[in-house]
Symmetry: C2
Subunit: 405 residues, 2 copies
């Protein structure tokens, strides 16, 4: 009698493992260039960590059991609650914004469909402690650079970007949806592209049959055409995020598409998904802003359990700006440095230069590259060695191509 692997679980023979490691290497390499630090958590967690956030229904999809000490435990289905707990433990001492990533293996017990996996590896990248749209652009940019690192271009992969705040604004405005019903309506809209009939059914359940549901369905049919929504005042952060991605040189990968809603209720702002250009597969990856989640899951866990993690230099170069007008040039330079493999970070909101240099030091960066209006006019930047304070002017061309920090 054979003891084969469990259904839905993979054995990785050396060839398959080499392919997996090639992808992991690209994930780690790009994450490092963006100044993200890797963390990991236990694959087995208390069941309560997930039911508290998602309710008891989630238990149906979990690999949960009672351990020999009588604890209700489960194989982790996602990483975010673990991340929230870890960050909360050291919240007071971690320098914000926190940029962390992880490559966990996750587990879901779904009724077996043919070939459906019950475990998979997932890249999780999170920026914590920064509300502005540049943080969204950073995460989308990193996802696109991973795609580029694996050899794909804008004809292969598209980033579809949206903002739930804009949809919420339109729904509660001219469409008259009550704010309390918005999450259920967004969940219904999430199905529209794949199964419009399912959206109709879900909407009629939430809003009743009639004008309200019909109006939202008509609205859904126009989501592919983004202009009327992108011009609303509530689309300001999304327009900013798009401008940042353009400045980074990644604009040709990006489409605005308000049909992207993301299934999970906890997203609160900009959301995105990466698709193959032919859309023959489901989304390759996706993400979004979830400002409330850390408060909700982790906020109670401020207790310090171990000593604080020591800060190690994870960033080599910090790009600083003097005025907000320097931002696009700074983003373009930062992205070119990252393409060279340099680990680069910058402030994600408007900050005085002193504050920016403080963060640069906290990250252990070797050098700060400072861009101001005068420098830009001269096609230059000031490179400041953070250990000594020594400064020199260097041309942007040299910085982009082969300057050794």
């Amino acid at each position: 009698m054979n003891v084969t692997a469990l259904p839905g679980f993979r054995e990785a023979f050396p060839d398959a493992l080499a392919r997996r490691r090639h992808i992991f290497a690209a994930w780690r390499e790009v994450a490092a260039r963006y100044g993200f630090e890797e963390y990991d958590g236990p694959p087995l967690e208390p069941l309560e960590l997930y039911t508290r956030k998602s309710g008891e229904e989630i238990v149906e999809q979990l690999y949960n059991f009672t351990d020999k000490g009588g604890r209700e435990v489960t194989l982790r289905p996602e990483m975010t609650p673990t991340l929230a707990r870890m960050v909360a433990q050291h919240a007071a001492r971690l320098k914000k914004p926190i940029r962390w990533f992880s490559l966990p293996q996750l587990f879901r017990y779904e009724r077996q469909q043919r070939g459906r996996l019950r475990e998979h590896f997932q890249l999780n990248m999170d920026i914590i402690g920064e509300a502005g749209p540049l943080a969204d652009a950073e995460v989308i940019g990193a996802a696109l650079d991973i795609v580029r690192a694996l050899g794909f271009g804008p004809r292969d992969v598209r980033a579809r970007v949206s903002d739930r705040r804009v949809l919420t604004d339109a729904l509660t405005g001219e469409l008259g949806v009550e704010p309390g019903l918005v999450p259920a309506v967004l969940a219904a809209l999430d199905k529209f592209e794949r199964a419009p009939e399912a959206t109709r059914e879900a909407l009629e359940k939430v809003l009743g049959k009639g004008k309200g549901a019909e109006a939202v369905l008509a609205f859904a049919a126009r989501l592919e055409e983004p202009k009327h929504l992108l011009e609303r005042p509530s689309a300001g952060p999304l327009r900013e995020c798009l401008a940042h991605l353009g400045a980074m040189g990644l604009g040709e990968f990006v489409d605005v598409d308000f049909r992207i809603v993301r299934g999970l209720a906890y997203y609160t702002g900009i959301v995105f998904e990466l698709f193959d250009a032919q859309r023959s597969l489901r989304a390759i990856c996706g993400g979004g802003r979830y400002d409330d989640l850390l408060k909700q899951v982790g906020g109670e866990l401020i207790e310090e359990r171990d000593g604080p993690p020591r800060a190690e230099p994870v960033v080599a170069v910090f790009v600083a700006t003097v005025t907000e007008e320097d931002r696009p040039a700074a983003l373009a330079l930062a992205h070119k440095l990252r393409d060279r493999g340099v680990r680069v970070e910058f402030a994600l909101k408007k900050q005085a230069l002193g504050k920016q240099l403080e963060l640069a030091s906290a990250r252990g960066a070797r050098a700060a590259v400072v861009l101001g209006p005068d420098e830009r006019a001269a096609g230059q930047a000031v490179v400041r060695t953070l250990g000594t304070g020594a400064e020199r002017r260097v041309s942007l061309a040299e910085l982009e191509h082969d300057y050794a920090f």
Copy 2:
């Protein structure tokens, strides 16, 4: 109320993860130099995979449960049964000897002692399909090179090497132990260094109080002094293994010590453990030959489930010998190349040159370095480019230091 991590499970903050990754990188780097390929298996496995080999008692120490499909499953406590199953699936097509390694996270539910972990990461290196003592020397050599890669020398770490065949020979010979009782006697001897009283108790249980047990205890007290055992004919393979380690340049790390028995019953030959030189910690790592295990666990699983894994070039240079007398020089050269970071393999038993070059091609090696008596006399070797068959003589000094293959 806090949802903390489960007792015995670690959260890895970025600093801790950086240290873990530094160690993993050394493991992978050295394994690659020795021509090992990485594989992985599912962290969740059928319970039967372990009870079949180790009996029902092992269940006490497992994280086992019944999944929602009614399957008896467990988090993996060790990697060997998974390896045996994977190799058996493709046994007919994998080129022997198989050199595979893995870095699994393993799980044991042990009654919680303060600070005792319930999960850990373990490096598993296996050579399958080669019976000779050079295979043992390769695994011990790789373990020592990992220690070296992490910055330790022979004053920090010692490899203690032994052979269960020699102990078995002495026990069943002049000490008159019945062959069927040898595994239980070896298990009792395994405790001798840490707890001699426990050895006495266990021996008296197995052999009864009296002369037999007293004789084995007296024998145990002399195991530290290896000469009388090392000179026995049954110590031939161990002496060979030691000579190979010497030829590799690793002799100064190695002590013969017959107190090393290894707890697990399935070891059948040479066994080893690495210790810190002060012996203030328990063994850092250990291993040994277990010729019967694959037969026992995997032999029934020859069924082909997927297509065979494609062979990918995992080895850059294959060191071949013309006569057995060339072996020490070949081992010395191979080890110097590995110290340069080159991925090197060689035949683990006496083989005709043609057979060796065949294995070199099967591994996808770029070049074979051939050492014969004439070449050695001239301080040279023949470098054969395997794609073209082109050959040239190169001095050993150049090969060792900076020859580009």
